[in-house]
Amino acid sequence: MTATKDIAAAALAEHAPHETFTLNLGPQHPAAHGVLRVLMTMDGEWIQRAEPIIGYIHRMHEKMGENRTYAKFLPNTSRIDYLSAMHYTHAFVGAVERAAKIEVPARTEYIRVITSELNRISSHMVWWGALLLDLGGFTPILYAFDDREKILDLLEGLCGARLTYCYYRFGGLSNDADDAFLKGTRDFVKHMQPRLQMYRDLVTDNVILRKRLTGIGPISADICRKYGATGPVIRGSGVAYDVRRAEPYSVYPQLQFKIPTYTECDSMARYLVRMDEMEQSLHIIEQALDQIPAGPFMAAKVPRVLKLPAGDTCYAVEAARGRFMVRIVSDGKDQPYRVKLRAPSFSNLSLFEETSKGMILPDALAMMGSLDLVIPDIDR
């Protein structure tokens, strides 16, 4: 591996001033997962410079937040990162609750944790399948979607939506979780544990996959900090940063779970972090199911027209791709003065230009796959 890198560096040094061409990867390219465009200066198959150009699916979510009421903006939050809609709604709802000082019932918090973790698993499954598609393996995504379907069915039974849930409300939930959901979730956890073992046997231990990911695209902890990368990306670089522990919210302090970290910093480390996270999420769901209390699912007094007191509030959650934070600046009206959405994919993509220098094209795409980008999340 190192020998290959040396050859790459030598080839770059030798041919740098001449014989390069520009490759416009995207916005419609199979590896772009949507409409990401990467402008690459290539020396043969070696990348000299890869500049991500974003904004093709910019939908002005932050501006939309400023000119409608809090409740009207709530559905937007599910559509930023459509793969982990629960977390994003959680952050917005949490910020509003924090500003308005609404006490959320304990049962609600547990249901939020269960649904958030289910959403994290389903999001990681999509990532897993899509990464394997990037690497040229077609079968795993269908296995992952088979299992993901079970999660979507559960959440559909709960709130009627399969992707953009909008299930959390200020002070509670749109409706209580019934016994069918709780039992279904228990069954799912039992079903999923052996499936994760199967994923490991089929894919993780595959020698071709290991060769494609091990040592590819190393991202040091310093680079992660420099660009603000969070989530599995920074945990794959050996930093145990997890918002659920670093800035505890909801009932996560009452739940036991490990923060998987790997110090190898390569794509395989980020892969393994996500695989371990699925396991930990199942573990969290099990505990939450055991501890969930009976009681109301809505806070007692939530005003119909919500007017937050003037001030500045932040609320961060650990979304599937990292730290998602909502900052609401209110001037006391029924509409926020400013809504800032801190999206993890944006920071995670930012480091691509620096780290992809001198990589070969398929390796760079493997690394991009291991960053788990969702383009609407980047562009917002």
Binding site: L133, G136, G137, F138, N206, L209, R212, L365
Partner: protein, 339 residues
């Protein structure tokens, strides 16, 4: 006088037969591949056109034929049009020497093996021309990959073939099969007394065959998640269809050769019932078992990395195939010392 003994009629029959065999295989292997992939991926695969999707290849063919053949501006239009023809012709030529049974062979050439490999290597040039003429950056990257991949994999493949040539002592494919008569333990695959590494040799041949036909996990030429569609990016309609058919035709030729060289061709695995239609049956059985393995591998493994592909060839396959070559030579010539 029997009409079949007339030479022109025999030539015509073989021509039609081979074209039909290649066309039918290409069409129905696509269906088999899609059905097999469906099974592997827990979904039904194509099942709408006809009973269980049996008419799907015809529907696909009509769709591809009905599309306009686009030659994008700026391409070398002569080469662009010639490439699909050049990629299709070699497997058709190769099949002329393949013996399907003890009597069913279009041309029983004494240099059959050489003939197959000399035509087999044209395929790469056609892919390269297609990629080059397209004037598309992805296609050009793909063309460069195809050439270096092919150079890397022709060498171990030919070393293996030389080993087999030494074992057989003839380039006539029919004679190679006749030598393997009488039960599966007489097949070259199991002739460990000639060369203890014979099964390894077969595996090398099979890997090289996958690489030569650009099949997963070595599908560098197409690599759809990296290079969009590789060398075929600019091809649409039947131009693309011909490349696709040629891929399957090449797989058929490769698997035919593997069957003939290692698995006893049309010989029965139990030593009896090898003649006539039985022979044809055994041959096709072995052929399709190998083709199924090719499909199976594609839908199970991710794509390899380009440099690990070259490393595999230069650092592992070529040394091993050299060792098998040497070993075979030693084992064959050793008895002469003690005579």
């Amino acid at each position: 006088m029997n009409l079949l003994e007339l030479e022109p009629i025999r030539v015509l029959l073989y021509l039609v037969g081979i074209c039909a065999f290649v066309g039918g295989n290409a069409a129905y292997l696509v269906l088999a591949e899609r059905k097999g992939a469906g099974r592997i991926q827990r979904r039904p695969g194509p099942n709408e056109a006809g009973w269980a999707g049996i008419l799907q290849p015809i529907a696909d063919g009509i769709k591809l034929l009905a599309k306009q053949v686009m030659v994008p501006p700026g391409t070398d239009s002569l080469l662009f049009r010639a490439a699909p023809l050049m990629v299709m012709a070699p497997p058709l030529m190769c099949l002329a020497t393949i013996p399907f049974s003890d009597t069913l062979v279009a041309r029983n050439l004494n240099i059959g093996l050489l003939f197959v490999f000399s035509f087999g290597s044209i395929n790469v040039m056609a892919l390269m021309l297609g990629g080059w003429a397209s004037r598309n950056k992805y296609a050009i990257i793909s063309a460069a990959r195809v050439v270096s991949q092919s150079v890397a994999y022709e060498i171990p493949m030919l070393l293996v073939v030389i080993t087999m040539l030494m074992v057989a002592g003839t380039m006539n494919l029919q004679e190679i099969i006749v030598q393997q008569a009488g039960g599966f333990w007489h097949w070259n695959l199991f002739k460990v007394w000639v060369n203890p590494l014979m099964p390894v040799t077969f595996v090398i041949f099979f890997i090289c065959m996958l690489a030569e036909t650009n099949r997963a996990p070595f599908d560098m030429a197409e690599a759809e998640s990296e290079l969009v569609a590789g060398a075929f990016t600019e091809y649409g309609g039947m131009g693309f269809g011909v490349f696709f058919m040629a891929e399957y035709a090449n797989i058929v030729v490769g698997c035919c050769l593997a069957t003939i060289l290692f698995l006893g061709g049309w010989q029965s695995p139990i030593g009896v019932l090898s003649g006539g239609f039985w022979g044809l049956g055994w041959f096709l059985l072995k052929l399709y078992a190998l083709i199924f393995t090719v499909i199976w591998i594609r839908w199970t493994f991710p794509r390899t990395q380009f440099y690990s592909l070259l490393n595999l060839s230069w650092k592992i396959l070529i040394p091993i195939s050299l060792v098998t070559l040497l070993l075979t030579g030693v084992v064959m010539k050793l008895p002469l010392l003690f005579r």
